[in-house]
Structures are given as C-alpha cells and as structure tokens.
C-alpha cells in the first residue's frame, strides 16, 4: 500500500467529479429530492386526516349532531352529500371511495332507545364503498371504532378493558426521523455501487486500467483509493441531507461516531459488490442495469423507505439477509434510539459482510492481463 499513489488517485477522481457538473449535481440533488419528497409525504402522515362523505337521510338535530361528532373526532374531514342523490352513483361519479349513509328514522330510533329504553330500537349505518381503494379499509376500521365508542357511551357503563400507550422512546419521534437514516443508507449504497460499476467498467473499456497496470499502482492501492473517494462523496451527500432535514423538517437526530462508521461500512460493502459485478459486466451500457438489479431490491426490501413489518412474512425473513437492512437498523439504533449495543450488533453484521465481499471484490478485480 502506497499512500502517495492512493492520494494521487484520489485527487484525480475528485477533480474529475468536481468538473463533471451533471454527475455532481445528481450526486447531491438526488438524496435531497428524496428527502424533500418522502419527508413531505411522511410529515403529512403524522397529521393524517381522511376525507369522508356523509349522506344524512334523516336530516334531524340528532343526525346532524352525530355527523359533528365524527368531525370532532379529528380523523375525518366531512363532506355532506345531498340526501336526494343516489349514494352508489355518487361514489362512482365523484371518484370518492366511501359514503356513510345515516338512514331515515335515525332520531326516532335514538329516542326510543334513550327515552323509552327500548333495546330493540337500532339503526343501521351503511358504508357504500369502492373496494379497489387502498385506504377504504382503514377508514371503515376507524369508523367502526368510533361507532363502538358511541355504543359503549350510550350503554351508561364504564368500559371494562382500557388501553394506555407507552412509547419505548423518551420522546415522541416523527416518521421523518426514522426515514432520514434509511435515506442516508440508500444514498451511500447507490453512490458506491453505481460509481464503482459505472466508472470501473468505463475505465476498463477505455483501456485506462490497462495503462495503469503498467505503472507501480497496485490493485489494492486502486481499490483503497476508490473506497476513500466513495466515502468522501457519501459523507458530502450525508451532510447535505442532514442540513436539508434540519432546515426543512427540523428533525431531531443524534449524531455521533456511529454515523461515519456505518457510512464507511456501507461504502465498503457496496464497493465490494460493485467490484464483483464489474468482473462480469463487459460493456458500460449494461453496467447501470447490473447495478439496478442489486440496488432496487435493497432499497425496497431492507426497510429503508417503509418498515419491513408491512411486508409479507417470507420477505421479512429475506430482509434479514440484505446488507442494507443492517445499515438501516444500525443507523436508526444510533441516530434515533441512541442504543449503542444495538448499533454494535448491526455494525458487526454489516462489517463481516463488507469484509467478505471486499476480499472477494479484490480477487474479482482483473488488473493484469489488460484488465
């Protein structure tokens, strides 16, 4: 290992990067776009409110009061539907996914139950819904819980089973704060993987690797300078993302030595994978496709964008063999939960993986024989 050679290589690669304005723009802009896009989505999820259409066929004081109760629940933004229209047709025509219909005779039945204590007096609320909508089931579940609460209140008895929420965190975190570490992990992965595959394939195709093999630079010098280069880019990208996250979303994240350490392990792992891929990718044109085949499953199955608990059981098990999963978990352990022990365990998992693929990558990199 020759530090002078490594630094010479690093200078050339950073200079090339600096002068390639398009690459530089996308390296910095891509993670910012992701943060802003997903951050905005998740910020609004923290204060989620569903749109609910209500058709009050009873048009009495009691039915109006019940609609107001739904509104005051805070989960729904109510749109009133004219009692004269056909609710089913309304769902079809207005592209809404649910209309709650309060039947005629609502107040009369309510009076019978409350005043006359007639337990046979009951009202059927109808949900007219579009089953193809993904959010309709959630809406109906919330409505059922509200109706159950009203029924329980009308019984006059205190509930037997109560529940209380206790977070394991010392303070309330927003989804964006879980999301930012995931994006940092994804960003370092894509930078390392794509840059290694793209640039090494191009340099090999152009014969630059062959020229370098006639100089004293060794394969190890070359690979270490690549790692250092990717690490610097990943750190720049991470700092940019954190600054945007703090400025736009006022995130509250804990930053310590684990952050650069996990970025370094992330870079090592995916530069290693990139080097192995480069061994098999002959043309620069197929390099991006090869890198995508690795990065896309990692992005969507390792819990970077959404919790793996939302995935089917077998995919959850699969997530545990993905290296990016341990980077995500490790970064969240250190930045969100401030749990050093968990971070240590995750760093060990990704560290072992990175070491193995990096060594395989060194052997896979063809340096002599014209590379």
């Amino acid at each position: 290992m020759n530090l002078r050679i490594i630094s010479a290589n690093l200078v050339v690669r950073l200079t090339s990067f600096y002068r390639e304005k398009t690459t530089m723009f996308f390296t910095i802009a891509f993670p910012i776009i992701l943060i802003l896009l997903f951050g905005t989505i998740f910020m609004s999820q923290d204060n989620v409110g569903y749109h609910l259409c209500v058709q009050d066929l009873d048009q009495t004081t009691s039915s109006t009061q019940s609609v107001k109760t739904l509104e005051l629940n805070g989960e729904f933004k109510i749109t009133r539907v004219d009692p004269a229209v056909n609710a089913t047709q309304y769902v079809r025509d207005s592209k809404v996914n649910l209309v709650l219909v309060i039947p005629k005779g609502y107040e009369e039945s309510l009076m019978q139950r409350v005043m006359l204590n007639d337990s046979n007096a009951a009202v059927t609320i109808t949900y007219i819904y579009d089953p193809s909508s993904s959010s309709v089931a959630t809406k109906m579940a919330i409505l059922n819980s509200v109706l159950a609460g009203i029924n329980q209140g009308m019984s006059g008895e205190p509930p037997f089973l109560r529940s209380v929420e206790k977070s394991i965190l010392t303070r309330k975190y927003r989804f964006i704060e879980f999301f930012v570490p995931g994006i940092i992990a994804v960003s370092a992965m894509t930078l390392s993987l794509f840059s290694t595959v793209d640039s090494d394939t191009e340099l090999r195709q152009k014969g630059i690797i062959r020229k370098l093999s006639t100089t004293p630079i060794t394969r190890t010098d070359w690979l270490l300078s690549s790692i250092l280069y990717q690490f610097i880019l990943a750190v720049v990208s991470t700092i940019t993302m954190l600054l945007v996250s703090y400025a736009v979303f006022s995130v509250n994240l804990h930053i310590d030595f684990w952050l650069p350490f996990f970025i370094l392990l992330d870079v090592f792992a995916f530069v290693g994978i990139g080097m192995i891929l480069t061994r098999f990718v002959k043309e620069a044109q197929s390099a991006a496709a090869a890198a995508n085949s690795i990065s896309l499953p990692m992005m969507f199955l390792s819990g970077s964008f959404f919790p793996i608990e939302l995935m089917p059981g077998f995919l959850q098990k699969f997530a545990h063999v993905l290296p990016l999963y341990y980077v995500n978990e490790g970064l969240r352990a250190s930045m969100v939960f401030v749990d050093n022990l968990a971070a240590l365990k995750d760093s060990a998992a990704i560290g072992v993986f990175a070491a193995v693929v990096f060594i395989l990558g060194i052997f896979a990199t063809k340096w002599e024989e014209g590379a």
Binding site: N2, R4, I5, S7, A8, N9, V11, V12, T15, S16, R19, E20, K206, G207, I208, R210, K211, L212, S213, T214, T215, P216, I217, E368, E369, G370
Partner: protein, 316 residues
C-alpha cells in the same frame, strides 16, 4: 546469462495460447540497448500480445522473456518502474488537463521532481497544458500518451501502434516526437503496421505474421535480402500497355486504369519494356523506377507466409 548492456530485451521460444487460439507461436528475438526496434505485422498477427507479455501485462503460455535482465513473469515490481508504455488505443481521464495528467502519472511512479515542463516541450504540447484530455485531438492525445510513457525517465519505451487512426499530419507530428526519442538514445520497442513508420524510425525490424516471425534485420537488410528486383511504375491511360507488358513475359503486380506496376530483375528489363511499348504504338504519361520499400517486402513476405502456413494457426 543476459548481457544487459547488449540486449535489453531477450525473447526465447515465446508462445501464447488463448484456448484453441495460438496467438504467438514460439518466437525468439532480441533488442539491443539504444535501438529503435519495430515489430511489424498486420492486424491480428500477435504484435500486441507479444508486447504486452514483455510489458508484464500478460503471462506467456511458454518460453522465456527477459527485460532489463529480469524475468518478466517474476520481477514485475522491479521492471515496471524502469519501463514506459503507450498501450494500443491509449486513453486517459477525460476531465483532467494535460499538466495534471502528467503530474498524476509522475506521482504514480513516485517521481516528485519529474521534468513535466521538459516532457511537455518534448511532445510539443506547450500551448495545451490547461486543456482537458477530452478536448484534445487524436494526435495530441497520442503525444500526451508518449509523454506519459516517458514520465519516469524509462530505460525502455514501448509504443504500441502510436499512430494508428491518426491523419497523415498528426502521424507526422508523432514521428517527430519519436525521432526526438531516437536522438536521445532511448531504447524504443515500436509495434506498427505502417511500413513507412518502421522504415523511417527503426534500426531493427521484425516482421510477424500469424504469430510467427518471418523476417528480421535492419530495414536495409530486409529490403536487400528479400526484394532483389526493381519496381517499374508506368502512368498511362492507354489500356494496351498492360497487354503489351504481359506479351513480353512480364506479369504486372498491380494494374488499374491509371497505373501499372511491374517487378523487373534489372535495368535492362526496363529498357526492354519501354521499347516494347513504343514498338506497339502505345503511350504512357510518366515512368518511375525505384528499389522496393519495406512495404513491398512486407507484402511479398506475408503473402508467401500466408500461402505456406496451415489455416488452423491463427494469431490474435
């Protein structure tokens, strides 16, 4: 035991096989210190494979190759700092300037005090030092490649087809640089398929065809030993000339509607042909008689080799 002062490169029975393909077939030659050695051959003859084995980039299948007195398969680390290489189809980093590129390669050789300005002057790139590589023309890129090959002040310089793909002006510019190297007394190993280049620059020439060396010597020796004839060229638009020459028992080696080329053994044959043409009432515009050049020798030799060699033996 190698006498390094005499032979900087020694190749003995070198063979390189890629699966079933025999790229280099048991060749042997030596290169003396301070000479420009041209390795000539058509595309796919085995030139680049041979030079890359000597440069330590490839490993031979069999045979011995010694460079600067060292075995190329065992002493790569010792050899590399002492040689300079311009590989075939040389390329460099697109966004790096001429000066930065030279500084980069100089640092790879750990030569902090390399004479970058001297190299820039040598290859005549003084007004291009701040130009990025991607903006250079083909000729300028090759000149930069030659400067890079010299950045470590090497004892041997390998130039693999340094003028391929260049226009005639750019080619002549590169030749100027190579003549400068020759004047400096550098040992240069030049592979090319341009005979004119070898004739102009080389002290010694080896001609390789289908992985085998078919002739070796100085350009003058090769011409004298392999082309004992004169080349008569007649410029004419008279179609009768070709028939007249054939009827006189001379077979044209090249004929079209403008030129006819005939190999003749002696000057008397020239007079005989000219008199014959005059007697037949045919006319010509001009006449040129000269000794054959290396190109004609090469065509003659490789033509014979192609006819003699079995078709299964093919070089890269």
């Amino acid at each position: 035991m190698t006498n390094e002062a005499e032979h900087i490169i020694e190749v003995e029975y070198l063979t390189k096989r890629y699966g079933e393909l025999l790229a280099v077939n048991g060749i042997s030659f030596t290169v003396r210190k301070g000479e420009v050695f041209a390795f000539l051959g058509p595309n796919g003859a085995g030139k680049t494979t041979t030079v890359e084995i000597i440069e330590t980039i490839r490993t031979p299948t069999s045979g011995n190759v010694r460079l600067l007195g060292m075995d190329v398969t065992k002493k790569k680390r010792d050899i590399v700092p002492r040689i300079g290489v311009l590989p075939q189809g040389f390329n460099s980093f697109d966004r790096i300037t001429v000066r930065e590129t030279l500084q980069y390669y100089s640092r790879l050789f750990c030569r902090g005090k390399a004479d970058i300005d001297g190299l820039i002057e040598l290859v005549n790139l003084k007004d291009k030092t701040r130009e990025q590589y991607k903006n250079l023309s083909g000729g300028l890129k090759q000149r930069l490649g030659i400067a890079i090959a010299l950045v470590n002040d090497p004892e041997v310089v390998f130039l693999d087809e340094p003028t391929t793909g260049l226009d005639p002006v750019a080619r002549r510019e590169v030749w100027e640089v190579l003549l400068g190297l020759k004047e400096k007394g550098k040992t240069v190993f030049l592979t090319t398929h341009y005979m004119e280049e070898a004739e102009l620059l080389a002290d010694a020439v080896a001609i390789i065809s289908r992985g085998k060396i078919i002739a070796m010597g100085s350009p003058r020796e090769l011409i004298e030993n392999n082309a004992k004839y004169l080349l008569l060229t007649l410029q004419s638009t008279d179609e009768k000339i070709c028939t007249v020459v054939r009827n006189m028992g001379f077979e044209p080696v090249h004929a079209n509607h403008k030129n006819i080329k005939v190999r003749v053994a002696q000057t008397d044959d020239v007079l005989e042909i000219l008199n014959g043409i005059k007697g037949a009432g045919a006319s010509f515009l001009s006449v040129d008689v000269r000794k054959p050049n290396l190109e004609e020798v090469f065509l003659q030799l490789t033509g014979e080799a192609l006819r003699a060699a079995p078709p299964a033996t093919v070089a890269t």
